[in-house]
Symmetry: D3
Subunit: 135 residues, 6 copies
């Protein structure tokens, strides 16, 4: 419901615009792909057909790559020097999250737990992101 409201009230999302050429950032992009990564791991665990599992790994690899890409863009293009001063943990948080996207993407085990850890790290980044938007 809240999300629907948000989708139908674009003028209220002034916080999503910034002053750079591409100008629009939202951690939801990384999060949606990460939800997909986790969901695929769950389906993989529940289905042992080899063709299904191969396809699951192919798509999971792509989704993980997209998670990393969206996070890298936030880290490089959105966050600036004053943010890194105020949130000294931010660099490491992004490094952990993109590493986790790799891990959740299939390095090591194919485990929904990895997907959840990835989601938790993205939520920490999102909390800081929206705090900087309010500032």
């Amino acid at each position: 419901m809240r999300l629907l409201t948000r989708l139908l009230a674009p003028k209220a999302i002034a916080h999503a615009h910034c002053d750079l050429p591409c100008g629009v950032y939202d951690p939801a992009q990384a999060r949606i792909e990460a939800e997909s990564v986790k969901a695929i791991a769950e389906k993989y665990a529940a289905n042992d057909d080899p063709a299904f599992r191969t396809r699951a790994l192919i798509i999971k690899e792509q989704r993980s790559e997209l998670v990393k890409h969206h996070l890298w863009v936030l880290w490089t293009d959105y966050f600036k020097a004053p943010h890194f001063e105020k949130y000294p943990e931010l660099h490491q948080l992004f490094n952990d999250a993109t590493k986790a996207a790799g891990a959740a993407g299939g390095k090591g085990s194919v485990d929904p737990k990895n997907g959840q850890e990835l989601l938790d790290l993205i939520d920490k980044i999102a909390t800081i992101f929206w705090e900087t938007k309010k500032a």
Copy 2:
């Protein structure tokens, strides 16, 4: 604020999971790219440096392509026969929205108005999408 709440409450988004392999859909993906398309048209209008304008058109073209891709995926992978029966306007709505993404992407004029029309069409799709999620 509401968005932040949502980002921090992943378990509440059960509606975002469906029964297909890639399993996660959200019209927000198309919407975020469309906000970018509109924002770029505004910056284009406000800056007549030729190198800036060329870069704006390059990036706008990419963002428009992403809007179309996210909408096409929703139309093909998420929506099913019962949805098209219940919402007979849905096919045309998607065709209009993807055409508008092309128009907003630079065909015809580079005009923030086109970007807004695209956002309005995506919001109509999102309304239907979230209704089907509640059903």
Copy 3:
């Protein structure tokens, strides 16, 4: 032979040009990729080496994605309101064909039959496409 003639007689293909920026459409693009999807399913069935099968699924996934992309472009960029009035089944035909590209791409079984159904749907679209070109 006929195809060779066609390839050597570019001036005769006036029907392949339209009035949009990218200006050239041909359902053959989707069809060639769909032939590849079907051929890969046949080879998959005939060879049970695990590495071969994994590679077959990787390439089939890419080819299916290309089928969908070429069909989406036709549906959004080539076909216009008068076409959809004259051929009311066109929206559903494209939705079925792109869904079939997903299915033939590995959702469900890896079966040449799915590839053939995809080819049949593309041929129905091609028939309409060339009728509109003659009009």
Copy 4:
């Protein structure tokens, strides 16, 4: 008409299948993109709106890249040692055609003549291709 017949008679195109994993080759893929390259150069010449011209160059660059890609795939994956023996000009023909795709793509002038030269080179390759299919 002939093309329509071909599209509706898939079983007749046995020549389009070969013994490799991806298994389907057709010079039409390069040709369709090259027709697009030439058509864009014509539209560019006929329209001096700067935003239109920039978009034309962006899309032309992408189409040229696709021409090159489709030609490279034919040269590496389809043609084999016996073909190169029988057609000693084949290497140079492909090198000229891919260089012409770069030229038609905007290196040097933006000229429909370059697009036509590219089409002529692709037609020479297609002639050889279909001869090897008949053999």
Copy 5:
């Protein structure tokens, strides 16, 4: 000469292999693309033909994106906790370098000086990279 020697002596590059799935890292990948970014800025400055300049900006945008991608991969996949402890400036160095790739890619002015600053930052990263390889 030295490079040639290196290219002809693959067994000597044991340091380029690590224990991850994709397993091979080399800052040269980012550097080569960054040289391209700088070279394009020089050619842009020397040629005021509008079509040439538009193409230069299109290609520069792509090359800059590749610089960023190769740097992000190094930062996420190659460097580990002990590296970040030993080189506390490493996070900021990567953030500066990827931001500079964006700047050199056309944000702000199209200036070979930006390209050189990007190369200098990549060289600082490369120095640390090769030190960790020797360790």
Copy 6:
């Protein structure tokens, strides 16, 4: 060490710049990806976990495609008529190397030997490349 020197001495690499728009060529790009192809084949042989092997094949396929792409660009964009006259074996060498990238990419067996053969072919091309740079 030698490589480090090279990376830290950008001004010494005048040979890496040419007179074309994208202007920078280096066989190291193909070589680094080919090292990755070979390394992945070694890891594949050493680990029989099915998920690991599937991921290895996915990434190997991508790396092989990049090897081919970098070689094709060198062959089409860098080498010119006088080079092909002076080195009549050059066309065949590139055709063999790109075919080997396909083979090393998983066609036939997944064998580090294929990766080594690919590296050897790239080194032959690199020798000629650097000779033409000195000329």
